[in-house]
Amino acid sequence: MAQYRFHSRIVGFFCVFAVFVLFLPAWAAEFPQKDKTIQLMVHWSAGGSSDTGARLIASGLEKELGTSVVVVNRPGAGGQIGYTALSQAKPDGYTIGSTNFPSAISSYLDPNRKATYNRQSFELLALHVLDPGIIAVKADSPYKTLQDVIAAAKAAPKKLRVNTTGIQTDEHFATLWLEQLTGAQLARVHLKGSAPSVTAVLGGKIEVYCGNVGDPQVRGGEFRVLGIMDSERNPFLPGVKTFEEQGYKIYFGSSRGFAAPAGTPKEVVNILSKAIGNVTKTEDHKQKMLNMGLTLRYLDPAGYKKYWDEFEAKMRDLMPLIQKES
């Protein structure tokens, strides 16, 4: 009797195993499996605007894909910890992550940071948000246009103060680009984030504000925005000209996209990319992004790749200037 029971157990085990083997190819084709969770890694702390945007996408993806999508925050080292983890994750589509500019690129362009990944380590899924850079001054400032600021900076080199929100942030690169293009020289002050920068400008400690369209304070009456570093005007700042319109071909800002580890199957990438695209097209999502002041700009993998390469090329061009500051 005992013998029989033992045998039946072995037979049963094999039956289960056979079923597994038989259905395995079918599973691989069917992405995503309903009972598997997709992890969306956000390389910043919970609560920030990168995190909130990603969480909106995650909840939209759940509906779109019919499987659960959880956000996992892996902050640290300006995103480098998260990018490293993403590049080393299993390329099966169940681990994807956010990719922010400029941190995703600057971290591997700077040899001091010894990053173990580069553009080729990721399979790009989609661009989600593009937050263009801006130059602004306090409302009662004598500088009325971008030309005024540049003329002042040329007249007295390294006297006119401009903030960045930290070393190697988009403001740092953008102000370098402005100097490179115009030959003006600014006194760059590296503050920690946009709130101290806004305070410093409002308090008159700094003359020129460099930030993003998404910074809520610039839309109040206390700032005069002089230009947007984008190819088109922005609905959040009606009436503000782009840099291009004013004769300066500068296109910079921070952006947020999504990527999977390199080696993720093409079909899986397409499914995820299309799903993200669908989420961004829903009215609900558009409204929420509007409320957060974020400029939605969906790009498919091919478009995102092109954008990445252009952005990286410009950063490679500017990186030596940062090194030269040292």
Binding site: V70, V71, V72, S326
Partner: protein
């Protein structure tokens, strides 16, 4: 007690020496003021100076102030080492998952160190591991790590 304090003073001196040497390799001063190596160098030096003063004070003190042993009884030392080992062992969390790690951790602390009864141990350990995992995951939106071994993951751990 005296011996341990002297050893500690020597450790602090070694630390300051290391910091100073490392700081010399960094940029000391820049066009705009102190560089990355400025503060480490001076802080290291101050630390070194203070530690030396402390060491001298320790030698000057009479042996009278040698108040007993530094380390507790042998039992106490074992207990402390075990707690620390258990804390360090929670690093396996990313491999075997939060629930199993925390369960084993709690069983170890409660049963081996706290000598609680089997039922107390099991119930507290379950609440702190499985209970906390689901509470945080479902209601508080904090994802604690699941096991990265597919065998354990399949069991929901």
């Amino acid at each position: 007690m005296q011996r341990v304090q002297r050893a500690a003073a020597v450790c602090f001196i070694a630390l300051s020496g290391y910091v100073c040497i490392a700081a010399i390799g960094m940029e000391y001063y820049t066009k705009l003021g102190p560089g990355p190596g400025f503060f480490p160098f001076w802080l290291g030096s101050i630390m070194g100076g203070l530690s030396i003063v402390w060491l001298i004070q320790l030698f000057r003190q009479s042996e009278k102030s040698n108040e007993g042993r530094f380390l507790p009884e042998k039992k106490g030392v074992i207990q402390i080492v075990l707690i620390l080992a258990a804390l360090a062992a929670t690093a396996v969390m990313s491999v075997i998952g939060f629930q199993l790690t925390m369960f084993l951790f709690m069983v170890f602390l409660l049963r081996v160190l706290g000598r609680s009864s089997v039922w107390t141990t099991l119930s507290i350990a379950l609440v702190c591991s499985v209970g906390v995992f689901h509470l945080f995951g479902r209601y508080l939106d904090v994802q604690l790590p699941a096991s990265s071994l597919s065998m354990l993951a399949a069991l929901g751990l």
